[in-house]
Amino acid sequence: MIKLDKVVKSYKIDEETTFYALRESSIEIKEKEFVSIIGPSGSGKSTLMHLIGLLDKPSQGEIIIQGRRISGLNDDQISSLRNEFIGFVFQQFNLIPKLTVLENILLPSFYTRKKLEYDPKEKAMELIKRFGLLGKENSYPNKISGGQQQRVSILRALIMEPKMILADEPTGNLDSKTGTEIMELLKTLNEEEKITIAIVTHEADIAKYGKRTIHVKDGRVI
């Protein structure tokens, strides 16, 4: 489904020095998989995640999503892929504080150029009910708990019915009990909804939710 082929991410610091955030790496994530990318901080796992999520472009190598080479796409096409194909879940939740829970969840649907086969608002309310956020839809993010915020960000990722959810340290800002709940939720989505899930973490406990683990260290996939 998504393939990174000999991808390198490097930054030129000056004429002679180049910093390699990610050295030549090739990985493949298949449909319906649950993959954990684990590595210590500074290992390059976030870079890897940004590349998979099309937030960043590789310095070398190619990213292929469902047979399409990313290097041949323009910014608008890549934006549409992020919008329709991938759902993001971040460590910091990254909700927009001035929007309500419902508005945050609906946000991707406003940016889509695709004709949706469902009413996003109805779908959002359905998700809110199903994931125990009923009554919070008109609250602002700073008025709900961290666990609830992370659930909102998962619902925001789900509103476009993406093929894949990318989660960057999804439990990093949560206590362990809430973290477990979030991980169970992702696991359910993978098992019941058949959504491909890739998580980035430095915690082995979290990584073990994945059915496959990719280790990253010193900018290399090992």
């Binding site: 940004h50 999520g53 937030l55 960043d56 910014d75 608008d76 934006s79 549409s80 992020r82 919008n83 329709e84 993001f88 971040f90 990254n94 909700l95 927009i96 001035k98 929007l99 946000l107 991707p108 406003f110 940016y111 889509t112 925001r156 476009m160």
Partner: protein
């Protein structure tokens, strides 16, 4: 909700939270639009007032004034030159056959004392035909007539405004004594209101009108500021002008008098106010420019403040143009807010000055104010918005 509404809502969300900042940012545009609209309204009003004055005179009217009225001095300069013409000129012009009626004009200003109040006022001295030439109508009493002129009768016809001020009411003023600079007159009539007044040209409603012969009490030299004359409508106005000119040249040099039609004065007035308006608008535009720069500055700050938000929006699929659009709408909204407030303030200001000054706001100024302010928003919003749109998603989302 449509995409457009969504973008507008995204752009306006912060206004709710930062009312004070929003207001201060739009203040520059507010002042600029206020200045442009108010000054234009005053220019327009003044122009309308003056043109109305001359329009009232109707066709087949000519003025003979000392000096070059339409020359470099502009209009009004002739009055500054003082009384120039005398009875000889009047008699000589009376011999021009194409002139149907002629009146000399002189004026005297002083304190008028009525039964109720004293008030600074002006008497317009003329012959009895003045009322006909100027299209006046009598309300109470009568105009003065030829006999009054011949007798140098100390009679005055009053404008309704001054009559009411000095005597409490128009009917009270009739047949009453009024003294102006210690000379007593009897009020024999009150004219119907001619409207206008307040600034610039003559406010007939606040004037007295008396026989020119009586006016000599105040002017031993027996001089006039100008002649107004009605021409024979069967004769071309150009021909009359030629005849009057020939007659005047017998005594004066070509540059010592002017013969003008009200329409000529109108075109001069239009010319002057065209330039005046342009200058006023140009000056006021400087504040619009400063306002625009203020908006640009705040928009740059906003882009920095919202870097993370831009990153989030880009991560979930917003395109560069979506971000560009959002920030431009925000800048335009700030600018239009300032424009609308400025317009409202100008409207109130114009209502306040209207009793004293013929300010007049038209649809053009409203359209101009809103058009200009939204254009400023776009122009000064584009650069910050482009900065926001071109942020790298990965860097924007990492931004704390």
């Amino acid at each position: 909700m449509s995409y457009f509404l969504f973008i507008v809502q995204s752009a306006l969300e912060d206004f709710r939270r930062n009312k004070m900042q929003t207001f201060l940012t739009s203040l520059g545009i507010l002042i600029g639009v206020f200045a442009v609209v108010t000054l234009t309204a005053m220019g327009l009003g003044l122009k309308k007032y003056i043109t109305d004055q001359f329009d009232a005179l109707g066709s087949n009217t000519l003025f003979v004034a000392p000096g070059k009225l339409l020359g470099s001095g502009g209009m009004g300069a002739s009055s500054l030159l003082g009384n120039r013409f005398d009875l000889k000129d009047l008699n000589s012009l009376k011999r021009v056959r194409s002139i149907k009626a002629i009146t000399p004009l002189a004026s005297k200003s002083g304190t008028a004392k009525g039964t109720k109040k004293s008030e600074f006022s002006t008497i317009f001295f003329s012959s009895d035909v003045f009322f006909d030439i100027s299209g006046f109508e009598i309300d109470k009493g009568r105009f003065f007539d030829k006999r009054d002129v011949d007798k140098r009768a100390k009679v005055l016809v009053a404008g309704p405004k001054i009559a009411e001020k000095l005597f409490g009411s128009i009917s009270e003023a009739l047949d009453k004594k009024v003294s102006i600079d210690n000379v007593s007159f009897i009020i024999i009539g009150v004219i119907k209101s001619k409207g206008g007044g307040g600034f610039g040209g003559p406010d007939y409603d606040s004037y007295f009108f008396g026989p020119y012969t009586t006016g000599f009490i105040f002017d031993p030299d027996k001089k006039f500021i100008r002649f107004a004359l009605k021409t024979d409508e069967n004769i071309k106005i150009e021909t009359v002008k030629e005849e009057v000119k020939t007659q005047m040249l017998k005594r004066y040099k070509d540059d010592e008098f002017s013969i003008v039609e009200p329409t000529e004065i109108l075109s001069v007035v239009n010319g002057i106010f065209g330039i005046l308006n342009l200058v006023l608008v140009a000056i006021a535009s400087i504040s619009l420019l400063v306002g625009g720069i203020g908006i640009m500055n705040i928009m740059y700050v906003t882009v920095s403040d919202k870097t993370k938000e831009v990153g989030i929006r880009r991560a979930i699929g917003a395109r560069k143009n979506d971000i560009l659009f959002q920030f431009i709408v925000e800048a335009v909204a700030l600018s239009i807010l300032g424009g609308a407030l400025g317009l409202g303030l100008a409207y109130v200001g114009i209502l306040i000055v209207q009793p004293f000054f013929p300010a007049y706001m038209d649809f053009t100024s409203v359209a101009l104010a809103l058009g200009v302010s939204s254009t400023i928003g776009i122009i000064f919003g584009v650069l910050p918005a482009r900065k926001a749109a071109n942020l790298e998603p990965v860097e924007a989302i990492r931004y704390e």
